[in-house]
């Protein structure tokens, strides 16, 4: 659990982060979203004390983050940034081993952990371990950056626009990987982005920031249904609102009995994907298939349109 209490950071007279308080539940993904200059990155960097707050406290699992020296705190918190920040003079394996080496793990344990993480990210340890970062593609570099952040098994992972430099296809894959890894390790993730789409896709909770202030802190569905201010509404983009709402739930929740013809859609796909498939194929209903291929029922265009409507206040 991360408790952020009345955190303020001033540079001169300007409050970059202004009296922000919220609580991040353990084992969840919280996304801080805002425009550039909203103070979201500064807020993130105060959690691992790359920036010291002017006032306020941040507690990690009940312990004030100022109770240990900054560098020791940061070894316990994973940190991944845009443009990966890999050390160019060190191999992939050495990069991933950075924090374990600082913590003085023995060699066998470090090697095992590096292999585990590389395998997890579908990079062959024997092939990629000895390479230098500039010999990797952008997507591979980003994965190694996250692997380095996770190397010392931190409970908390901070990510500052980690997917900002990736093309849309690789970005979608990286987001899926992140969610899978979050499930596997149960890591508490706080991620900063300016992309509301990414926030809605990844976040269990979303914190919207503007000009240093926390505007709204809520689950994605609530942000979409009840944006606190016009600014939040602008961030969501009114044109995309219904589709984003649909993207939050899977087809499974919209199944109704009945038959439909044509290719089935998996029950784990989002309702947005289902609607897109319906519109594109010109059908009124789609069969829904379970993982094993059994048909569970159908999803209709009318039901999805209803679900895309603004929830009653």
């Amino acid at each position: 659990m991360i408790e952020i209490e009345h955190i303020t950071k001033r540079y001169g007279d300007i409050a970059v982060v202004d009296d922000v308080s919220f609580v991040v539940e353990p084992h969840t993904v919280t996304v801080i979203v805002g425009t550039s200059g909203s103070g979201k990155t500064t807020l993130l960097r105060m959690i691992n004390r790359l920036v010291e707050p002017t006032s306020g406290t941040i507690r990690l699992d009940g312990e004030d983050n100022r109770s240990v020296p900054g560098h020791e705190l940061r070894r316990r918190i994973g940190y991944a940034i845009q443009g990966h920040g890999l050390f160019p003079h060190r191999t992939v394996a050495q990069n991933i081993a950075t924090v374990p080496v600082l913590l003085g793990w023995d060699e066998a344990r470090i090697d095992a952990r590096v292999d585990e993480l590389l395998t997890l990210y579908q990079l062959d340890p024997a092939q990629f371990g000895p390479r230098y970062p500039h010999e990797l593609s952008g997507g591979q570099q980003q994965r190694v950056g996250v692997a380095r952040a996770l190397a010392a098994e931190p409970n908390v992972l901070l990510m500052d626009e980690p997917f900002g430099a990736l093309d849309p296809v690789i970005r979608a894959k990286a987001q899926e990987d992140l969610l899978a890894i979050q499930k596997r390790f149960g890591t508490t993730i706080i991620l900063v982005t300016h992309d509301m789409e990414e926030a809605i896709h990844l976040g269990d909770r979303i914190a919207v920031m503007d000009e240093g202030k926390l505007i709204q802190y809520a689950a994605p569905a609530e942000i979409l249904a009840k944006p606190a201010t016009g600014f939040v509404e602008t961030l969501i983009g009114t044109g995309d609102r219904p589709f984003r709402l649909l993207s939050l739930e899977t087809v499974e929740d919209a199944i109704e009995p009945g038959k439909a013809t044509g290719n089935a859609i998996p029950a784990t796909a989002t309702q947005r994907d289902a609607l897109a498939e319906l519109l594109w194929s010109g059908r009124r209903a789609l069969p829904v298939a379970a993982g094993d291929g059994a048909i569970l029922g159908r999803v209709t265009i009318d039901a999805l349109v209803k679900r895309a409507a603004r929830p009653a206040a």
Partner: protein
């Protein structure tokens, strides 16, 4: 490895240089036409090999000292605690560069006497600037994401300096040392005016006795040394830059 023409030329230059230093009399016919009145064609007031080694030693000592001080200053002023010393340090090394080495020699002789010491002082002062400026550039132009990451993973200030900043800045720092070495190789010759044992002796002896062969011998040895050392250090920089993956930004 395929031998390119420049590599072959350098190898030939090295072999000729070593041969000349070991057996100067073999080259007597080459220098004979440059002398008049039966003057000796090959420097005969000491061993050229010894003078070359002493010359290199003087340059080495001065460069090592200049590197320690200049790099130390650059590290100091790039730490948060030392940032305010940047203007002062810059002035100091600039003064070192502004003073002509001859003037430094003239001032240093009364203080430390004749011989190698005033030469070392002059070379040391003269060599500071390129090393300092390059170290400063190397340490302050590291990719921001890399310095950010080195803090983010929990390295202490010392660990960031020794494990990340210095290794990454090394090619640029080395370029500064290379410039300093080449300047010192040439400048060390004037040390012989205050009785330092360098290759300047050969040149000065030639000038005093109007013996063009001597002047040319001294000058050629210094010149070839400078070219070979410059190239060797450049090659080392390229290897280091390639290893750090920064070669694209360091092609100059």
């Amino acid at each position: 490895m395929r031998l390119s023409l420049p590599t072959v030329l350098r190898l030939v230059a090295l072999i000729v240089l070593v041969a000349f230093l070991a057996r100067p009399d073999w080259f007597e016919p080459v220098f004979r036409p440059l002398t008049q009145n039966n003057a000796p064609a090959i420097y005969n007031q000491g061993s050229l090999m010894t003078l070359t080694l002493l010359h290199l030693r003087t340059v080495l000592i001065a460069t090592v000292a200049a590197t320690i001080v200049a790099l130390g200053l650059a590290i100091l002023v790039t730490r948060p605690a030392g940032a305010e010393f940047l203007p002062l340090s810059r002035s100091l090394v600039n003064i070192g560069q502004t003073f002509p080495p001859v003037a430094v020699l003239a001032l240093a002789v009364p203080a430390v006497g004749f011989g190698e010491k005033p030469t070392l002082i002059a070379l040391f002062l003269y060599g500071l600037l390129p090393i300092f400026e390059n170290s400063l550039t190397g340490l302050t132009t590291l990719p921001k994401s890399v310095t950010e990451a080195s803090r983010g993973v929990g390295m202490t200030g010392w660990q960031r300096l020794t494990r990340i900043e210095l290794p990454l800045a090394l090619p640029v720092i080395l370029a500064g040392i290379r410039l300093s070495v080449v300047i010192s190789l040439a400048t060390a010759t004037i040390g012989s005016t205050v009785a330092a044992r360098t290759l300047g002796e050969v040149i000065i002896a030639g000038l005093l006795s109007n013996n063009l062969a001597f002047v040319l011998q001294g000058g050629l040895i210094v010149g070839i040394l400078a070219v070979l050392i410059y190239d060797a250090l450049s090659a080392l920089e390229r290897v280091l830059a390639r290893r750090t993956g920064l070669s694209q930004s360091l092609t100059t």
